[in-house]
Symmetry: C2
Subunit: 125 residues, 2 copies
């Protein structure tokens, strides 16, 4: 029972509710019950990025993730166990002080890695 163009709504809602950016694969899985195809997921996120609604987040050694573009400045935490990516608030700042002489700083990214709350719990048991 796929509803055309309803897909965009579903993807947008999913990204808004998510605790961090999602990959195309994750979106496809989370919306599996709607019958959406992977190709459509890629089409919608690509369109969304071009339209400025979504932002593409490049993960080191992983697929591109997507998040709504209206979130305030933040960074990301990747779980080394479940590989999900979470938003984290705050920013160390003062990156211009780290920039070498003669270099021009344009942007910065901070990636934390470790275990998310769920996976940390598992480890304790």
């Amino acid at each position: 029972m796929p509803r055309p163009s309803e897909h965009l709504v579903a993807v947008t809602d999913l990204l808004r509710q998510a605790p961090g950016p999602l990959s195309a694969h994750e979106i496809h899985e989370d919306l599996a019950h709607t019958g959406i195809g992977l190709a459509t997921v890629y089409r919608l996120v690509k369109r969304g990025v071009e339209a400025g609604q979504f932002i593409a987040v490049d993960i080191p050694n992983g697929p591109t993730h997507y998040e709504p573009s209206d979130r305030p400045h933040h960074h990301h935490f990747e779980c080394t166990s479940c590989h999900r990516v979470f938003d984290i608030e705050g920013c160390p700042g003062h990156f211009d002080e780290l920039t070498p002489e003669g270099f021009t700083l344009e942007s910065h990214e901070v990636f934390l890695r470790g275990r998310c709350d769920a996976c940390s719990e598992e480890g304790k048991a």
Copy 2:
């Protein structure tokens, strides 16, 4: 004039002299005059990483780079123009303060992006 096993010396020296981590492709290019093959480059860096001499640096949206493992804690700057990666000294620290409740922090990475000294000069002209 390829000298077998001399290749490892050449790769090691190159990585030591480089201002930052190099990709397999960059190593292959920089050592083109030695006649080294790309497959050999991959073999040597893989072996080096397994042996603990080199460290694999994952670049967002780019190929794995390699650097000597005996460098002190540092981060990286990627030039948006020439796409070379440079080491930068210093670290903002205090990442545990950014880590959400219940999460376990294992490591962190900081990526700065902008124009390197050479490419900044170009822009001025």
